[in-house]
């Protein structure tokens, strides 16, 4: 059996635990006294240490041990959790991560990492006093043992296992006294955790006087402790002496077999120890006899593998138990949710591709079956089509992931940036369980990083400025995700100073992005920051403000067929709102026909369809009155300069996107379809108003309309119309629009 086979599991598990630590620390930041979070933090550190021990990762064990000891003091009360400690634990967490990274790379930690570790240990030691963390804070004999159970329960009970009574077998290492750790302190500490029912001090190891070193520890103890604490906590008491001492802890209800193993593993031997255990009431005389008999008959059996492992590697059995418990817990959680299966992404992509082809093929089949007039065949084909629909949905679902994981990554970004800029900023996350396509999530990571850095670096003011403005010192950056009308909205907002209109305008003029005398409305001003090479930061910092970033954000979002909006109020903050499609591969579309060409509109942007009154058509209106609401009307044929024969009637598809509405004037409405989106070649990638193409059931190609782009065109037309004589780059196409 090789432990190294299990190493990847350990690494994965450790990373999971590190995430938990981060999460707990985040909770503690908000409410430092949260006992649950402190416990979780402790457990995570403890489990990492325990499993690292299994793999002989001494550096991790040693370091985590220090952190755990301080945590233990926090957990038990003497040390209050505060922001300094939280920051320290955050650093510790990072350090553990570095160590684990090193393990994964199969190299020893580098010098810088070790230095960092030493530094952290020194900082931790500060909280441990003079290396005697387990010493009772109030020395002396006056501390009454804490009796957790009614002693009466124990009356008349002799031997066997009792509820809540632990058996501790302690053989302290020879150097503990010289290291300033007195077994007295440990036993004293135990009395604060429960009631010592019986204690036997083994003095057998004291050598004859001539050889006896008075500064060396020779004592061993067999202790019966009645206590309601958990295994880990009891284990934790001995963390500081575990390395060179033999600490065995048998939980309440341990079987005779456990005691037998205990007796066999200790130097005093079964006979001597057996007598002591009988004296302690740990086992009965009869049980001891049984063990002795058993031993006589089985003495030739080799020890169990696990036992041997424990012995050879000096692993505490309890540590193994904790590690196993942890594994079980993880396993349980997995079965509770759903069993997870890791699949290579390219296999999934292939499946989606094939489903896409299947959708197209089915559409073709459907068209052809219509011509045969064979109702039985058509019925079967409809059934197949329905199943294909379902398969498509399931396949698309496979690619959906929660955005939370990506979001959580930004906690680190915010923390790092805070450290660098000296600001105190909290990252608030909402809608972490919002699902969207894996590719979208992945490609969202970069623009989000830019936006968050920007918010932290430029958005949120310095603490002094904030105070002057009457805001709390701590700034807030919010990450929010939610579904709306078939797309996903991801928002990054801050409660900072808002965008500075004047500064943006000045800068834009200086860079020649807009003419000197041109006036712009707010929206247009905000959009300037997405122009390449634009930065409003007064000073260039390490993080952002080098003039790259926002244009990249815009480009990335465009590439995702999404859009960005900016909402800002001076002195109150800024929100960047990204609207993203749920998926990139297959959409439900609405097929329309204009001048002999087919176009697909994403169905979720379609509000309704109506026939354009002939009178409006005759007037050539560029607006539409929909139940009293005035909407811009986009004439697709004119927009795309289509020359083909027009149909007799005109229909309007009312679209909505990003809170705006517009009418799209087409000839014919052909109904819903599933469109497998194929990207256009790079030659056409810049085409306004078109985002891709799809193949229809008939085998013909239809273009997929980019509603966001169309809306922009509509809005521009509308403004242009409203502003009358003003001309701009496309000035030739101004239409009078009566408002």
């Amino acid at each position: 059996m090789s432990l190294s086979d299990a190493l990847p599991t350990f690494l994965a598990e450790a990373r999971g635990l590190l995430e938990e630590m981060e999460e707990s620390l985040r909770i503690l930041k908000q409410s430092p006294a949260d006992a649950e979070a402190i416990n979780a933090l402790f457990r995570a550190a403890h489990t990492i240490k325990g499993s690292a021990g299994l793999f002989g990762l001494e550096v991790i064990v040693a370091f985590t041990h220090h952190a755990e000891s301080v945590l233990d003091r926090v957990r038990d009360g003497p040390l209050p959790m505060d922001s300094v400690l939280i920051a320290l634990f955050m650093d510790c967490r990072d350090h553990i991560e570095n160590l684990i990274d090193a393990v994964e790379r199969d190299e020893p930690p580098d010098g810088a990492t070790l230095d960092q570790g030493a530094d952290l240990v020194a900082r931790l030691a500060h909280y441990l006093g003079h290396g005697e963390p387990d010493a009772d804070p109030s020395p002396g004999a006056g501390v009454a043992p804490l009796v957790l159970e009614d002693p009466v329960v124990n009356l008349g009970r002799n031997g066997g296992s009792e509820d809540d009574v632990w058996h501790l077998s302690l053989r302290f290492g020879p150097d503990v006294l010289r290291n300033g750790m007195d077994p007295l302190s440990f036993i004293h500490y135990l009395t604060t955790m429960g009631e010592i029912v019986h204690l036997f001090t083994l003095t057998d190891a004291i050598p004859p006087a001539a050889e006896m070193d008075p500064e060396q520890c020779y004592l061993g103890f067999e202790i019966r402790l009645r206590s309601g604490v958990d295994k880990a906590r009891l284990e934790g008491v001995f963390d500081f002496v575990r390395e060179d001492s033999q600490i065995r802890i048998l939980p309440p209800g341990s079987r005779l077999e456990d005691f037998r193993k205990l007796m066999e593993s200790l130097p005093e031997g079964v006979h001597r120890l057996g007598e002591i255990l009988v004296g302690c009431g740990a086992i009965t005389r009869r049980e001891l006899d049984h063990v002795l008999d058993l031993q006589a008959s089985q003495s030739t059996n080799p020890p169990l593998l696990g036992e041997a492992l424990v012995r050879e590697q000096c692993i505490q059995p309890e540590v193994v138990a904790v590690a196993l418990d942890r594994q079980q817990e993880v396993r349980k959680r997995q079965t509770q949710d759903t069993r997870l299966l890791r699949v290579r992404a390219d296999k999934l992509d292939l499946l989606i591709d094939q489903v896409g082809e299947l959708v197209i093929a089915t559409a073709g089949l459907r068209v052809q079956s219509k011509d045969t007039q064979d109702s039985v065949l058509m019925e079967s084909i409809y059934e197949v089509a329905r199943l294909v629909d379902e398969i498509r949905d399931s396949a698309m679902n496979l690619r959906m992931v929660e955005i939370g994981e990506t979001f959580n990554r930004f906690r680190r970004v915010v923390r790092d940036v805070c450290k660098e800029s000296g600001k105190d900023i909290e990252l608030v996350i909402h809608g972490a369980d919002t699902q969207l396509d894996k590719t979208v999530v992945e490609r969202l990571s970069d623009p989000l990083t830019h936006l968050i850095r920007n918010a932290v670096d430029h958005g949120i003011e310095s603490p002094e400025q904030r105070r002057a403005r009457g805001k709390p010192d701590q700034g807030q950056v919010r990450l929010n995700a939610f579904h709306e009308a078939g797309c996903v909205l991801v928002e990054v907002s801050d409660d900072g100073g808002g965008l500075d209109r004047e500064r943006i305008l000045t800068k834009a003029r200086k860079r020649g992005l807009i003419p000197e005398d041109k006036e712009l409305d707010d929206d247009a001003v905000w959009r300037l920051i997405f122009e390449p090479g634009f930065s409003t930061a007064q000073e260039v910092s390490n993080l952002s403000g080098r003039g790259v970033g926002m244009d990249v954000v815009r480009r990335d979002i465009d590439a995702l067929r999404g859009s960005v909006e900016i909402e800002t109020r001076p002195g109150e903050g800024t929100t960047f709102r990204m609207r993203l499609p749920l998926s990139l591969a297959i959409i439900d579309g609405f097929l329309v026909r204009v001048a002999g060409n087919d176009y697909v509109v994403p169905l979720d942007t379609v509000l309704e369809c109506l026939e354009l009154p002939p009178i409006a058509e005759a007037r050539g209106d560029n607006q539409l009155s929909l139940r009293g609401e005035i909407l811009p009307l986009l004439r697709l044929a004119e927009l795309f300069r289509l020359q083909g024969p027009r149909g007799r009637r005109r229909n309007v598809v009312v679209l909505h996107w990003a809170g705006r509405k517009a009418g799209l004037l087409v000839d014919e409405l052909k109904g819903q379809l599933q469109a497998v989106i194929k990207p256009l070649g790079s030659l056409f990638s810049g085409l306004p108003g078109v985002s891709g193409s799809t193949i229809l059931g008939s085998g013909e190609v239809a273009l997929v309309l980019d509603v966001s782009g169309l809306m922009d065109l509509a809005l521009r037309d509308e403004r242009r119309g409203r502003n009358g004589s003003r001309t701009d780059d496309n000035g030739s196409r101004t239409h009078g629009l009566v408002q």
Binding site: A141, D182, H188, A209, P214, Y218, L219
Partner: protein
Amino acid sequence: MEMILEQDAGHCLLRMEGEMTIYHAMEIKQKFMEILHDFEEVTVSLAKVTDMDTTGAQLLILIKKEAQATGRHLTLSDHSPSVLAVLDLYNLAGQLGDPMFIPHGHGRHGDRS
């Protein structure tokens, strides 16, 4: 740590005063061995022991074992509260035998020589 020796023929009384801790463990052991060598009958008074740690307790056990092994007669007497606290916590009274509760002799579990 002060160790004051009062003696008359074959018998001595050693008064321990101060801390019986690791800082003095060497000298205490030295002294204990000396008197065990020099006298048939030894009484160690612990009345003025202000502090005791595990080394102190170990030395008491050592001297007790050594006395048995060499056939000397050793009595530990007048345990101060700090001594009692340690012996109590370690449940050593029985093994040491001396404290008022049990007269001279071996503890219940007996010491192994």
